[in-house]
Amino acid sequence: MGFSRYVEVGRVVFINHGPDAGKIATVIDIVDQNKCLVDGPEEITGVKRQVISYKKVSLTDLKVTIQRNARAKTLKAAWAESDTLAKWEGSSWAKKLEAKKKRSSLSDFDRFKVMVAKKQKSRIIAQKIKELKA
């Protein structure tokens, strides 16, 4: 099994450190072995064009077809064409992040309601399994 995600021009990365933490960006150019140039595009993901260390990013499965050092406008068009944002939001990675965010914002009463719903769910599952086993 080789690698399936590479640091390459057009690779969509998830930023997990710094002021842009939690946002995604696109690799525009590779600076050296430690850092690359990324751009959101800013209008879509809110990440400005900047040089960022590989340590601060995680590679995603997504890739857009752009040329090296592509302009912001070209990048934006490429994102729109391939519908990259929707693809990202549809990924289980993004969904998990969203769920985590929602969980942390729940109030005490909401947590109680979740607990009750969970119990109801497991009761239904247990009942079904019992039926199947019988």
């Binding site: 942390s104 914002s105 729940l106 109030s107 005490d108 009463f109 109680f112 309601k113 009750v116």
Partner: protein, 202 residues
């Protein structure tokens, strides 16, 4: 003369001087009365004035609170109002989780964002004196002294019982309107292994 003296003493030194000075201005003579003894004056005090206690803004009437200490710790209760002493008046309601009308220190309470409409609950007659203990309740006789360790059942007056019932009835009307609210109030708060209270939103 003595009677006049006493009256002056009662009125206070300031008043006495004022009264005598006003008479001198009118007649042009000095006052006939001059106190031979020093009248004790209260010393000028810079003792702090008590400001009304500050209650956290999250603890408005109707807030569901989590009690953190005392024998009801972990219970979720409804805050009814804050009293003059700065303590909060809370109740379970008693019917739901067994917490009676009670005063709690706001420092030992977590105020949640959950609110219950308690505008229909009349607790205007309940203040700090409502919770005062009668002397007969506190004092015990000789037998009492020797049997102090023996468990005694709490004596709840009929008035308290009736008040509790009234308050419970009016709160329950609102509580029943929200699904799961009754179960929520009936359950106890606890922290799990992975719960981080400083990062939780209440």
């Amino acid at each position: 003369m003595t009677a006049g003296l006493r009256v002056l003493g009662v009125a206070g030194p300031k008043k006495a001087i004022k009264a005598s000075s006003s008479s001198t201005t009118s007649t042009g003579k000095s006052a006939r009365y001059y106190p031979a003894d020093d009248v004790p004056r209260p010393k000028h005090s810079r003792a702090k004035k008590h400001n009304p206690p500050r209650v956290r803004p999250s603890l408005v009437p109707g807030t569901v609170c989590i009690l953190l200490s005392g024998r009801f710790r972990g219970k979720r209760v409804v805050c009814l109002k804050s009293l003059e002493s700065g303590l909060l008046l809370v109740t379970g309601p008693y019917k739901v989780n067994g917490v009676p009308l009670r005063r709690v220190n706001q420092a030992y309470v977590i105020g949640t964002s959950t609110r219950i409409d308690v505008s229909g609950v009349d607790v205007s007659y309940i203040d700090d004196s409502y919770f005062a203990r009668s002397s007969s309740e506190v004092e015990g006789g000789e037998e009492e002294f020797f049997e102090k360790d023996a468990a005694r059942a709490a004596i709840v007056s009929d008035k308290r019982r009736a008040d509790q019932k009234k308050v419970d009835a009016s709160i329950l009307k609102v509580v029943d309107a929200t699904p799961l609210m009754k179960n929520y109030l009936g359950s106890k708060f606890s922290l799990g292994k992975y719960d981080k209270p400083h990062k939780m939103v209440f």
